[in-house]
Symmetry: C2
Subunit: 392 residues, 2 copies
């Protein structure tokens, strides 16, 4: 199989930017991506682009893929928009990997963009609803937070998970996000802050929910045939896995885990030839605190019943055994739907390049990214691996 490498990755700041547009955010991310390539790259060398976006609200441009790539000067190349709700750009990266492995491209830009803060809260709720099941969830009045609240309730009932444990996710991710200059919520919070915040959907409080975010992110992938032109510190896409499931939570085999995540992770590990014990860090999809706890078990960091204890133990803090969401995660870094999956790869690229600044995980050579669409109707996992020895 023809290998694919991440040779660059960059993002806009995530946040609320009334003076920015869909295109300008993508441009910022694109420039950061280009600038991140160690040996530099001429944008003319990009063979293909894949753009993930949900197209939240009325801001959606016609042909959003070509609309943003033409804006950054990528003319004429094949451009495809992909959308799998909140996993849009995780799938864009996967599609970029396929394009390279297929031999049809040598250099692919995979990215994502979303503008969400220019519409009302009601409209955001509608568009998040459109990421989940339509007839029996959204149209019956269940909000997206409500779906995850059901998962949290099930997790508590089955495993004894507590609101305090959920709150540890918030504390940890804000601690990390406070150190990330691109994060939306760059401040720390305490356990009490998280536990005593207003309830959004019981048992989830405000601090158990990610914010509404504008932002964009990009990832540059290169084939084994050209990777040396761009870096002498190659980061290989060692494994990719993706899976789907019933879109409606009520139709799935469990409420307290995400089978699609589990399946995607298994495939990615199998292809990478490693297991979760080989990870130096992971960026997981924590749209809600419960989602991070479910991810721990789904990607194999612990058994399903142990996730609450794992986070409370500090094992997933930056200085723990397997740091999770050193970027701040969706919770603190922000969750611009279509940009989130590519944004996770941006953090992984920084960690594996030793460029994560205050958030750097010492000696990181292998990391995982985990991106979920809806409440688990789709999931995609990448295992990324630095080939050069750290410090070499």
């Amino acid at each position: 199989m023809r290998e694919a490498y991440v040779v660059g990755a960059g993002q806009s700041e995530f946040g609320s930017f009334p003076d920015e547009s869909y295109r300008s955010l993508f441009e910022t991310a694109f420039e950061a991506t280009i600038d991140s390539v160690p040996a530099g790259i001429d944008p003319e060398e990009v063979d293909e682009a894949v753009v993930g976006t949900l197209g939240v609200g009325g801001r959606q441009l016609g042909l959003p893929g070509p609309a943003v790539t033409e804006h950054v000067g990528l003319h004429g190349i094949p451009v495809t928009r992909v959308e799998n709700a909140c996993a849009a750009s995780g799938y864009a990266v996967r599609q970029g990997v396929q394009a390279i492995r297929s031999g049809m491209a040598d250099v692919v830009l995979a990215g994502g963009v979303e503008v969400m803060t220019d519409i009302s809260g009601d409209a955001v709720r509608y568009w998040l609803g459109v990421s989940g099941e339509t007839e029996w969830e959204r149209l019956s009045g269940t909000t997206f937070a409500g779906v995850y609240a059901q998962m949290a309730s099930a997790h508590m009932r089955e495993y004894g998970t507590t609101r305090e444990q959920l709150s540890h996710v918030a504390v940890k991710n804000h601690e990390n996000g406070a150190k990330n200059p691109h994060a939306q919520l760059r401040f720390e919070c305490t356990l009490e802050d998280a536990m005593e915040a207003p309830t959004v959907a019981d048992p989830l409080t405000l601090y158990h929910c990610c914010p509404t975010t504008d932002g964009a992110a990009g990832v540059l992938l290169a084939s084994e045939d050209v990777v040396e032109e761009y870096t002498d510190d190659p980061i290989r896409v060692a494994g990719v896995g993706a899976a789907s499931d019933r879109v409606g939570l009520f139709q799935r085999e469990t409420y307290s885990g995400v089978p699609a995540s589990r399946k995607a992770a298994e495939t990615a590990y199998e292809r990478a030839g490693v297991g979760p014990e080989a990870l130096d860090f992971a960026e997981v999809h924590d749209c809600f605190a419960i989602a991070e706890l479910m991810a721990y078990a789904d990607i194999g960091l612990c058994e399903p019943g142990e996730a609450g204890e794992l986070v409370a133990s500090g094992a997933t803090r930056r200085d723990g055994e397997t740091p999770v969401n050193t970027s701040g995660g969706l919770k603190s870094k922000g969750h611009p739907i279509g940009a989130t999956g590519a944004g996770q790869v941006v953090e992984a690229f920084k960690q594996l390049s030793g460029e994560a600044g205050e958030r750097q995980v010492d000696g990181a050579v292998r990391g995982l990214t985990h991106n979920v669409g809806g409440s688990g109707g789709a999931a995609v996992v990448h295992v990324l691996e630095r080939e050069r020895e750290v410090g070499a």
Copy 2:
């Protein structure tokens, strides 16, 4: 390069179906696709799915990819929605080819679906507008027909193309569509019908415009490693090409052709190792009659100025030198946005399998499909080739 083959393709009827849904139409197409595989296939053998849809109107389901694949029983596999306006499922097929060539899948379902007739004409116009440029075309009041009317006017001015020549496209495609049991407008029309019909956007009359359509289509792709399990009459994806361009017509290098189509065709021919003279038929994107004339030159059937004469000569009729749109094309067969590109491959599969009934092109061994997104912001071309000798 690992070869990809079309081993099955099928579609729902195209038309207006108030009693059908997004899911039921996809199911009909899926069953037809499965049933079309010569040696049969167990749906469990499908490794991955790619679903093209614009999601016209309020009918859009959350996570439309997984939502339709779960409905047909494809559980757990990777499913990605792709959207490039009217080229959504042409790109879905291309992505399926990449998945197979990448070695990440052996059997891929690439399909598309759209429901359009359940919303008002104004809403359809909005959603077609969303396929084109936003700020300077749609928001300034230019309809999608208006954009193509500008292209028709430019073509007439530059090349002397006439309204009668445009009308020959309608006559030919209705003649073919009348023989297609899956076509929406199954009746013939005369030159006078087409020329004297009400004007939609000058110089385009009603007969120069495709209808609004519900429908779905599917294509089953298999790798060279497994193709023999499914057929002893393999149809190879000999070449694939795709290209993007400025989304806004006013920003492109010409009004009287589609540069993205030209580039996509050149790539597809190059990869197939053949040129337009080797084609036995082509399915081209005739959302408006002028689009078919532009396609003739863009895919190399003639020089740009000769397209009007070519259609008037009968060379692209079913019994002509290079039959174009034997299915009836978007004009008569119908244009359910997200299903159109896959629907073109359905016709190509039937022609190359000798299963096109009254529309059969004798001895067809090689055909091309050409699918355009918006007014040319994206285009994708496939060259398909029967490997077995006809009659063997």
